[in-house]
Symmetry: C2
Subunit: 190 residues, 2 copies
């Protein structure tokens, strides 16, 4: 990163999340929805951002969410507290940005090589196909899992936010996706 | 703004855009699509961001896009080069952030009090209802107008970006909305 960054003081209360995957996996939708769910869940500040560069044409897609008790002057994620990787490519690309001790959540139906033993693995894409009949909701299922694994937002706030933005007619399968993701992640915690 | 801001050098080549309106008017969708359209149109860097705070519950909704030749270290818009205001409330709230000489675009079907004579006024919501039969596409129509009034992105890139994100079955009315917005803005320029 450039020298400008060195000047910016980063408050210690920041929590930085990156959702990453391939272009069609709905990571931007996921980050917009997560931003709203966090906002609806409490008094913290939250900012969502994404950039579109030449890399987006390749395949890896990412969107960031930053949560803080204080005003967020610098909305880009730098040292991730939580990384969701839906593909091998996105894991390879963004794993170096994960903090030591940060939470890694991986779609193990698509990712096979994971550079650590310290992660939560769930087969979001396979589960979405098998249980809901559509891989399109794998992103929402991952949000359900993040809801179970962290205290950033409530399941109610997540459901509200997803249903407020999802196309009409997809309500049921989105609700189901949240439930499955939540349930499977709770099972991992035990 | 807080003191942290004073430390951040802002490159002169930045172009800052804010899309503002009420919660249901699709300003975040608009900013995500604009970000992609700019990305597809050339070699500039582009970042889209939005925050969710207590103000989002009221009614005013905003999303920012920052475009630069250089790496964008600070993705929040501060002094706007372009402000789209779809409601009176959002105009009142964000007009003070518009640069002197910045471009103001207003939905004149909903906004009546405009604090300057230097603006582009188009009745996006009324036109969307009248010509397309749905006010939902007023945001996309506004993007069509911005496409005509600036050189940030091509009409083709905008259409690609919109159709890539809009729900299936809405392709025709989104294309139409872009066309109407583009056409009406071109008429203003003459």
């Amino acid at each position: 990163m450039g020298k400008l960054l060195d000047k910016i003081e980063v408050p210690q209360d920041r929590f930085e999340i990156r959702l990453s995957g391939s272009g069609g996996q709905g990571m931007i939708f996921g980050s917009v929805v997560m931003c709203e769910a966090v906002g609806k869940s409490g008094s913290k500040k939250v900012v969502q951002s994404q950039s579109y560069g030449p890399e987006a044409r390749g395949g890896a897609s990412k969107a960031d969410v930053v949560i803080s008790d204080n005003e967020i002057y610098y909305p880009k994620a730098m040292k991730l507290d939580l990384l969701l990787a839906m593909t091998q490519e996105s894991l390879d690309k963004y794993y170096p940005d994960l903090k030591e001790g940060g939470m890694l959540i991986v779609d193990t139906s698509l990712v096979t090589e994971i550079p650590t033993d310290n992660y939560y693995g769930l087969e979001f894409t396979r589960l979405a196909r098998k249980e809901i009949g559509s891989i399109v909701v794998a992103n929402v299922m991952a949000l359900g899992a993040i809801c179970a694994l962290t205290d950033m937002f409530s399941k109610e706030a997540l459901t509200d936010a997803v249903l407020g933005r999802a196309p009409r007619g997809t309500e049921d399968r989105n609700k189901q996706a949240i439930d499955v993701g939540y349930r499977e992640a709770m099972a991992l915690k035990k």
